[in-house]
Structure formats: C-alpha cells, structure tokens
C-alpha cells in the first residue's frame, strides 16, 4: 500500500469518508480548485507529495437555497457562487466578495472552501463576508461532523486535528438585514487588497463587521459594531479612526502595516453609506 501511494500522486475520492481516509496521509493535501496548491513553489513551499482531488465528491459542490438559509458546498467556485446567490440585500456582501476577488479567470476555478481553509492566506474576501453574515461552517473529521460559527472555524483551522474537511457553509437569510463588502486593492486586479471590510446591519442598528487582509488572521470588529449604533457615515468614520488602533497591520513588500490600518476608517464610511442606501435611509 505504501509503495502504491508513493507513485500515486493524485487520488479521486467519491465520498467525504473516502476523502478523509486519503487525507489521513500526512503527505497529502486536499485540492479543490488548485489555485492555491499550485502556487506553493512561488511561496517557497514544496508541492505536496499527494493531491487529494475533491472534484468528484458530488456533495461538496451542492448549493441549496431554503427559506431561512443557503447551504454552500465548499467546491462552489467564486464565479458560480456569484451567479447563483439570490438577489437579496442580506447576501450582497457575499455576492460582492465572490464577484470581485482576484480576476475573472481565477474566480472560475478558485473555491469558497479552499479560500477559507488554506493556511497562510491573509487576504480572504470570503472570510470577512462570512463573518459579517454570521455564517456557520460544517467540518468533517474522523470522529464525525460538527458545525461551528465561522469565527471559531477561522481561529481554529490551523490547529484542528487532521484530517478535516469543510463540507458545508451555511449563511442565514435575514430579509431585514443589509450587507456590503468593500475592498481596497492597489490595482483593479492582480494584487491582494490592503484591507477588506464586510458589514451587515439590521434596521434596528445591529451591526456585524468582518475585517480581512489587515492582520494575518481575519477578525470580527466587535468594538466598532457597538460604536456604529445610531451614527451616520461621517460619524462612523470618526469612530473607526479612534478604534483602528486595535489592529496591528501586517507588513508586506509594497504595503506597510500602518497603511492597512489607516485606510480602515475610509472603508467603514463607505460601508455605512452603502448600508444606509440599501436600507433606504438616504
């Protein structure tokens, strides 16, 4: 068996159980679209010895819309998701995240499951959007399946007991909520945004804010959520300026950490304006 595996560079499980079995091999990595794993050499990382292709596990490509929530299989590509989401304002942040990340060609192959599962990708559009929408993530492990809030999943994903696999992402539909996704890239396509901010809000002023790309890990901005109750866009920007010190921006070539945190208040003003517009308040 070991000898067979040594030459079997790619396996094609048909079920989640089979996929977990393959992923129990420490030299194996799950491959959804392939856009992350094939860039390993550019990150000065070795290519995984074995690819476990998930494209034949049908259930991972599902997409179901029910009255209270949508269920998204992790193999949904950005492009397919952007085209599939129903047009309701509470899902606009997710649609926008799916429609504007990377570029059109990459969006046709990169998946939502890969986007939130990979190690070392700080600029996930989906992470911010899913945080703002109170999404739940279902994962499968040898011990069974469990469901957890996306914030918990994002915090734990690198320490989860291997093997694990995201099997479903559930986003609640609250028709009275508005949502917006904003990102600030240097160019229209071809680079990662300096900062990404997603927000959703109810008519009663209950906010959810997700931030990505500023720090190494995405996070929910609790303090800002509280500060946004009952304020307009200009006041929101001011509040964000006072609270942005809670972030420690990551330094990368071309984008210093201070820049990432300094643009957050502007993104906050934009999302508050857009939310107000969706809710018909302007």
């Amino acid at each position: 068996m070991q000898a067979e595996r040594a030459v079997l560079r790619m396996s094609y499980p048909r079920t989640v159980v089979e996929a977990l079995h393959e992923l129990a091999d420490a030299q194996a990595t799950a491959v959804a679209g392939g856009s992350w794993v094939l860039r390993a050499p550019l990150r000065r990382e070795p290519l995984a010895d074995r690819f476990v292709a998930l494209n034949k596990v049908d259930i991972l490509g599902r997409f179901d819309v029910a009255s209270g929530a949508i269920s998204i299989g992790p193999m949904m590509t950005h492009d397919r998701l952007a085209r599939s989401l129903p047009h309701v304002m509470c899902l606009e942040a997710l649609r926008s995240a799916a429609a504007c990340a990377a570029n059109p060609g990459v969006r046709r192959i990169a998946t939502i499951g890969g986007n939130i599962s990979v190690h070392g990708f700080p600029a996930s559009d989906f992470a911010a959007a899913l945080i703002s929408l109170d999404a739940m993530v279902q994962i499968a492990q040898a011990s069974g399946e469990r469901v957890m809030p996306v914030t918990e999943f994002l915090a734990q994903r690198m320490t989860l007991q291997r093997p694990w696999l995201v099997t479903c992402i559930t986003v609640p539909i609250h028709l009275d909520r508005a949502s917006v996704h904003e990102r600030l890239p240097m160019r229209r396509a071809g680079d990662y945004p300096s900062a990404i901010l997603s927000a959703s809000a109810s008519r009663q002023g209950q906010w959810r804010i997700g931030v990505s790309s500023v720090e190494d890990q995405p996070k929910r901005w609790h303090a800002l959520e509280r500060a946004l109750q009952g304020v307009n866009a200009a006041q929101a920007e001011e509040a964000a300026r006072e609270l942005a010190g809670a972030f420690s921006g990551r330094d990368t070539p071309g984008t210093p950490g201070w820049y990432r945190t300094s643009v957050l208040p502007v993104l906050v003003r934009r999302v508050v304006s857009a939310i107000e517009a969706q809710l018909g308040r302007v």
């Binding site: 856009s35 094939l38 860039r39 292709a53 990377a102 046709r108 396509a189 680079d191």
Partner: protein
C-alpha cells in the same frame, strides 16, 4: 501515471505527474507554446485556455483534474490560415504588439463573446481585468471587440 486529456478535439494519453499544471504539459510535453508561461500565479492571463468553454489560467489547473473536460488552446481555436473573428478584429484594428499577452487575450475575449455576444465597453474591460498587457493601452483592444458585437461567427463556436 497516465492522464487522458481532450486537447483541441484530440484525445491525448500522457504519462505525466497529475499534479503538473496544464500549462507545463501543453508547453513541455505537447509543444503547444501558444499559452505563455509568465507569472505562474493566475494574475497575468498569458496562459489562458478554454476548459469547457470557460477561460481559465492553465498555470493553476493540475492536469489530473482535467480528465473528461474539453480543453481548447489558442492553437485549436481556429485553423492557422483562418483566424477566428476575434483574431480578425484584433488584426484589423492593428492592436497586436509584442504578442506575449495576445493568445491569452484572444482566449478570454472569445470566451466572453460565447457567453455575451454584445458586451458593453465596461463588460469587455471587466473581462480583460485578468489579462495584463505591458506594451499598450487597452482602448483599441476594446474597440476591436466592440466591432464584433452581435457577430454570429463568434457566438457559435
């Protein structure tokens, strides 16, 4: 490991590592060098091919995941002496410069017109946002595409 790929309408059996990017197989194994190896991370668009009629960067597609799909490269898009409508339009508008990015541009634009035979200027620019040209501006490329709006030769592959 043997991988069987449908490339330009021809079934090809290849003894390759299934983890290899399609781009490397096209260029290194099959000598189909129209797709260019430039950024290798899906940003530049120079290696675009059609997979089931969708334009995707071939540098990011492991060949082992492409069995059963139709792969069309720039070499298979049209006979050499009979450029397709997009190629004709780019020639007529005299927009081709060094040629490095143009195979990818043609693939992207052909795919766009399959799906949307009458795109707006904004839609053409949006479609090209993952195709980088360092020689020239994009306006005349967009003009060339807009000259094809509603052209049935493009809409019917």
């Amino acid at each position: 490991m043997t991988v069987e790929l449908n490339i330009n309408g021809e079934m090809r059996r290849l003894d390759v590592d299934p983890r290899m990017p399609l781009l490397d197989v096209l260029r290194g194994e099959l000598r189909l060098t129209g797709a260019k190896a430039v950024c290798s991370e899906g940003f530049c668009g120079a290696c675009m091919v059609l997979v089931d009629r969708q334009a995707v960067p071939s540098c990011l597609r492991p060949v082992g995941m492409l069995e059963g799909l139709e792969i069309l490269t720039i070499e298979g898009l049209a006979p050499f002496a009979q450029p397709n409508a997009v190629q004709e339009a780019l020639l007529e508008h005299d927009v081709v410069q060094c040629g490095m990015c143009f195979p990818g541009m043609v693939i992207t634009l052909t795919s766009l017109l399959y799906e949307n035979p009458s795109p707006s200027r904004e839609e053409v620019k949006h479609a090209l946002s993952g195709n980088v040209c360092r020689c020239t501006g994009y306006e005349r490329i967009v003009d060339a595409v807009l000259s094809l709006c509603g052209n049935n030769e493009v809409a019917a592959p």
